[in-house]
């Protein structure tokens, strides 16, 4: 019994170490693939479980922070605006990484994102407009640029 308890404790300990361990860096400021065991700094969920909503921010230390959805990325950006060099999000339709400064964001849509912010990201305004029509919940559903979203502010749903 004691041995079992010890084993469980050891397992928990090593699991705890594993997720703290590696730091992912991007020296070229390009987007990097999502590692298996990394958690979102805002909500603590595993990012790899929600690949299709993922975002990443590259800090001035070249360290990469991953988010499981655009909403969490905005929350992080509002708190640490100074230290972020680049932000990439996944295009909703093509799933390719798109730079946040060039992307279009549909806010307040009915789509259910991992944390429920309802924000989807697109590389073209046309795609974003199309998505807004299909997943609209009225006039609140809008197509905005990155700067516009930041100006309005994002609050947890």
């Amino acid at each position: 019994m004691r041995l079992l308890l010890l084993l469980v404790l050891l397992l928990l300990l090593t699991a705890g170490c594993a997720q703290k361990g590696e730091r992912i860096v991007s020296p070229t400021l390009e987007p990097v693939p999502i590692p298996g065991k990394v958690r979102c700094p805002e909500c603590g969920m595993f990012v790899s479980d929600y690949e299709n909503w993922a975002c990443q921010a590259i800090l001035s230390s070249r360290e990469v922070v991953f988010f499981d959805e655009p909403g969490d990325m905005f929350l992080y950006r509002q708190k640490h605006s100074g230290s972020i060099l680049r932000i990439y999000c996944r295009d909703y339709y093509t799933q390719k990484w798109v730079s946040a400064s060039e992307a279009y964001f549909v806010v307040n849509s009915v789509i259910s994102t991992p944390m429920g912010f309802g924000i989807a990201v697109f590389s073209s305004r046309e795609d974003a407009e199309n998505f807004r029509r299909e997943y609209s919940m009225g006039p609140a559903t809008e197509v905005l640029t990155f700067e516009e979203v930041l100006r309005r502010g994002v609050k947890p749903p």
Partner: protein, 385 residues
């Protein structure tokens, strides 16, 4: 000193059991049979589920078929370009495939047109020109190895010679066992499918969140199409497996009931003789714990042996003999396959599940009445009151 005591108790327990050989052998037999049947079903379902999961992993996100008068027809490739225009679709492929009846072997094979191989190949490479890669079951049956020729009869009745350049890995047996893969254009010619048609369309979607919406858009745009998402296929598989294993569990319900009666019989009380023996032991100075330990040893010996025996027999039955007892019930659809081998897939959870429903209740049934008997007065027990 204390170890010696425990060994003595164990020794006594073994002799206690040997003195009631008939009863204990009957218990072991029934116990083993129940574990064997439960484990067989669980192992077979586990193996089939894994195969199905492997099949699903290869299936496209959305399959589009054309329905003509309620039956499946050939899909015009113009549909592919219309689907390609839907936002979020990353790729659309027209697939060429069909069944081929081999009169010589009295078996049906599946011929697929491929540009790159969907399965792992044991040896060989992807087919080019008049070349094929065959499933492991076909290779075994027709005794062919890469480099050999096979002759197939095409839709015009001509005999066409193909060179075998590879054999699919047996690891993916259910999906690839009966497959003959050849280049798409050759398969099209072989079946006589017009250049602007395909058997069905495989649609790949980049974002799984958009999948349902795209499937809905396709069915709106193409009213004569049947749109199958991978999720729907998975649900169908689950329903089939769930239904079949349900039927079988109902069938072996009798055996489980017999087991329950046996357990209840043991639980409902000891025989007068056993009670007397416990009484004598107590009179000789055994404590309640000693009696309980002896009975626990007995229960553990019986249950563990039967459990292990049942599991081993089930493993041999399912994975070495390919489940001859369960096949007819659980594998109705596999008559197409020339041969079909179950791949060992055994999870710790399954073993634990069987353990929990067999060994644990049995142990409880052995210990509870012994505890009751060991707490009564030895004088009373010996007199048989």
């Amino acid at each position: 000193m204390s170890l010696r005591k425990h060994l003595n108790i164990l020794d006594y327990a073994v002799h206690f059991m040997l003195r009631r050989r008939g009863k204990n052998i009957a218990t072991v037999l029934v116990f083993t049979l129940v574990v064997f049947m439960l484990a067989s079903v669980v192992m077979m379902m586990g193996s089939l589920r894994e195969e199905a999961e492997n099949t699903l992993a290869l299936a496209p996100d959305i399959t589009v078929q054309k329905i003509v008068a309620g039956r499946q027809g050939l899909v015009p490739l113009s549909y592919a370009s219309r689907i390609q225009d839907i936002r979020g679709v990353s790729r659309v492929e027209g697939r060429i495939w069909g069944y081929y009846y081999d009169a010589l072997e009295d078996a049906t094979y599946t011929i697929i047109g491929v540009e790159h191989l969907p399965f792992r190949v044991v040896e060989g490479r992807a087919p080019r020109g008049q070349e094929v890669v065959v499933g492991e079951a076909i290779a075994k049956r027709k005794r062919i190895i890469p480099g050999d020729r096979i002759i197939l009869r095409d839709h015009r009745g001509n005999y066409v010679k193909f060179t075998v350049v590879g054999v699919f890995s047996p690891r993916s047996s259910l999906q690839s066992a009966d497959i003959i893969a050849m280049p798409g254009s050759i398969a099209r010619e072989f079946f006589g499918i017009p250049d602007d048609r395909a058997n069905d369309l495989a649609v790949y979607v980049a974002n799984p969140a958009e999948l349902t919406n795209i499937a809905y858009k396709i069915s709106l745009a193409l009213p004569d199409a049947r749109v199958l998402t991978r999720q729907q296929i998975r649900e169908t598989y689950d329903a089939i497996f769930g239904w079949r294993s349900g039927v079988f569990l109902a069938a072996i319900f009798g055996a489980i009931l017999a087991f329950a009666i046996l357990v209840w019989d043991r639980a409902s009380g000891l025989t007068a003789e056993e009670k007397k023996e416990i009484g004598i032991l107590k009179a000789l100075g055994w404590s309640t714990e000693d009696v309980l330990e002896m009975r626990t040893c007995e229960g553990v010996l019986l249950a563990l042996n039967s459990y292990l025996l049942g599991i081993i027999l089930a493993y041999i039955h399912v994975f070495y003999l390919n489940a001859p007892l369960l096949r007819p019930v659980l594998l109705g659809w596999s008559t197409l396959y020339p041969s079909f081998e179950l791949m060992p897939a055994l999870s710790l959870e399954d073993l634990l599940l069987i353990f929990m429903v067999s060994v644990v209740p049995f142990m409880a049934a052995v210990i509870v009445p012994s505890w009751r008997a060991s707490t009564i007065d030895p004088d009373e027990a010996m007199r048989g009151v």
